[in-house]
């Protein structure tokens, strides 16, 4: 079954994570990096949830990744694929949808790349992924 495009709910943009969504508007996927423990975290926070330091900044990531797990929601009007994708060059996984794909051909470990999906109204686009 080929995934149909869904109109996604616009994310709530709050002051702390505004830059993440501004990057998305520009077609860039960023993640928060902590200069103190030299690690990424996700979702983005000002204060690093790993070490507690506030020396954190957004860094652009490659936009490539690998499916950590997924589940195709079938008993809904438009079936879709929920997933966690582990981002290349990091040890962080983000919740997302796998789009523009055959829902019956997805696999854990599959290589994917970011493709931004429109949201309702004038909300910023969402980082979704599609098989490479």
């Amino acid at each position: 079954m080929i995934a149909e495009r869904r109109k996604l709910t616009a994310p709530h943009v709050d002051p702390e994570t505004k830059e993440f969504w501004e990057a998305a508007e520009n077609g860039k996927l960023v993640a928060r990096f902590c200069n103190s423990c030299e690690a990424y975290h996700y979702y983005p926070r000002t204060i690093c949830p790993r070490c507690g330091d506030d020396d954190t900044e957004y860094r652009e990531v490659s936009g490539r990744g690998r499916i950590y797990s997924y589940s195709v929601m079938r008993r809904v009007p438009v079936p879709y694929a929920m997933a966690y994708v582990t981002l290349e060059g990091t040890d962080i996984s983000m919740m997302t949808n796998i789009v523009d794909c055959d829902l019956d051909a997805l696999e854990i470990g599959q290589d994917v790349k970011v493709v931004f999906s429109e949201t309702e109204g004038d909300g910023p686009p969402l980082p979704t992924f599609t098989p490479v």
Binding site: R6, L8, T9, A10, P11, H12, V13, D14, E16, T17, A39, Y40, H41, Y42, Y43, R45, C48, P49, R50, Y68, S69, Y70, S71, V72, M73, R74, R75, V76, Y80, M82, A83, Y84, T86, T90, D91, I92, S93, M94, M95, T96, N97, I108, G109, T119, L126, T128
Partner: protein, 389 residues
């Protein structure tokens, strides 16, 4: 300091309703409180501590203390989703040990069925101020696809099969056939489960719990009061609680917070998983049970599929009789929160008051374990070890 032996569960009540169109939420709480107090042989005027969670209306303990006419000297509205009520038992034991109260009432109630809630298939928005919501809710996470991702990863890492998961529902259905209040009373087979409609891969309709209204209540008392009541003595022997979350993005869906709350509870109780005669295990989905059985130490991580297969959870035939009321999978999951009924059935087993067809002989040591929130994102885990004296 330990809570081992500092408090007893003297009253337990499960509301018989499964669809409460003609009752208010506060009324359900009060009916559950009345049921548990009568079970204990106490009255509302004996209550000096009250515990409730996010299912309570308004300002929780304030609204319900007002509604029920309670005069209190201790309140606790710890909210960890469906596991809240197991946490409440532990916190009540702590408060009693410190002399902050001597008769603690814990209530749960809800009416998702009457309200037509699409519990498993509609995304829930916990509010935009929840920091995770902007990064999750727009992708349509639902309870079923979040637990589906846990099951997919478990299958990928450990070779767990849908047939093994199905055995958990089969065991619950064997127990529910003896419960006249259960939503699902028919015995089902592994084939029935794997042939039921797929909701979200790899979870079928029969891998999911029921949606039901109702609730329950517990009375936790000091040892002195417990010994004056004409009820079997069910002692709180150990407790553990822990949140598990995404750990800053280092997502690992193969285990639950039971890996932390379980060992803490067993250590406090001074017993081992092998000593347990009966287990109430949170069962929002079949995969929930499987992961928690591993995490509580009943088998090694990854061996849960083999452990639950071939009827090993069925009372009378299996090594680990579980959820003998039919659990959330078949009996009742009031307010979408299964923790209360886990404690209630454990108390029935320890008293010897479970249905004779499922009563575990000489059941003197039980575990009750709950999860609240979602194993796929963030959840509160709580474990209780209970002993009949």
């Amino acid at each position: 300091m330990s809570i081992n032996g500092k408090a007893y569960i003297a009253g337990a009540f499960e509301h018989p309703t499964r669809k409460a169109i003609d009752k208010s939420l506060a009324q359900l709480h009060a009916e559950c409180a009345k049921g548990a107090l009568e079970d204990a042989g106490l009255t509302k005027d004996d209550v000096d501590g009250y515990f409730c969670a996010g299912d309570a209306p308004g300002l929780g303990p304030l609204a319900l203390a007002d509604y029920m006419g309670l005069k209190l000297r201790h309140m606790d509205s710890t909210e960890t989703g469906g596991s809240s009520y197991l946490v409440h038992v532990a916190h009540a034991a702590e408060a009693i040990a410190l002399g902050k109260c001597s008769v603690a009432l814990i209530t749960l109630a809800g009416r998702p069925k009457a309200e037509g809630m699409a519990t498993g298939t509609a995304p829930r928005n916990y509010g935009n101020d929840a920091p995770d919501v902007p990064f999750e809710f727009p992708f349509s996470p639902t309870i079923t696809n979040m637990y589906g991702m846990c099951a997919m990863r478990h299958m990928y890492e450990f070779g767990t099969t849908s047939e093994q998961l199905a055995w958990i529902k089969v065991a619950a259905s064997h127990h529910a056939q003896h419960n006249p209040n259960a939503v699902l009373q028919n015995v089902v087979t592994v084939e029935d489960v794997v042939n039921s409609p797929m909701i979200s891969d790899p979870l079928h309709r029969l891998d999911c719990c029921v949606i039901s209204d109702g609730g329950g209540a517990l009375i936790v008392v000091s040892p002195e009061i417990a010994k004056t009541l004409n009820r079997p003595l069910v002692k709180v022997k150990g407790a553990g609680e822990a949140p598990k979350h995404q750990m800053g993005g280092r997502v690992d869906l193969t285990y639950s917070g039971a890996a932390w709350s379980g060992p803490a509870a067993f250590e406090e109780a001074g017993v081992k998983p092998g000593d347990i005669k009966y287990a109430s295990i949170y069962d929002s989905f079949t995969i929930t049970v499987l992961m928690q059985i591993e995490d509580l130490g009943f088998c090694a991580k990854g061996d849960g599929g083999k452990f639950v297969a071939d009827g090993n959870l069925i009372s009378g035939t299996g090594k680990l009789p579980f959820n003998t009321d039919g659990g959330g999978l078949c009996n009742n999951h009031p307010a979408n929160r299964g923790g209360m009924t886990k404690v209630v059935e454990a108390v029935r087993q320890l008293r010897g008051e479970a249905h004779p067809a499922v009563q575990v002989p000489n059941c003197d040591l039980a575990v009750a374990h709950g999860t609240g929130g979602s194993l796929g994102t963030r959840h509160g885990s709580a474990t209780l070890i209970l002993e009949r004296e």
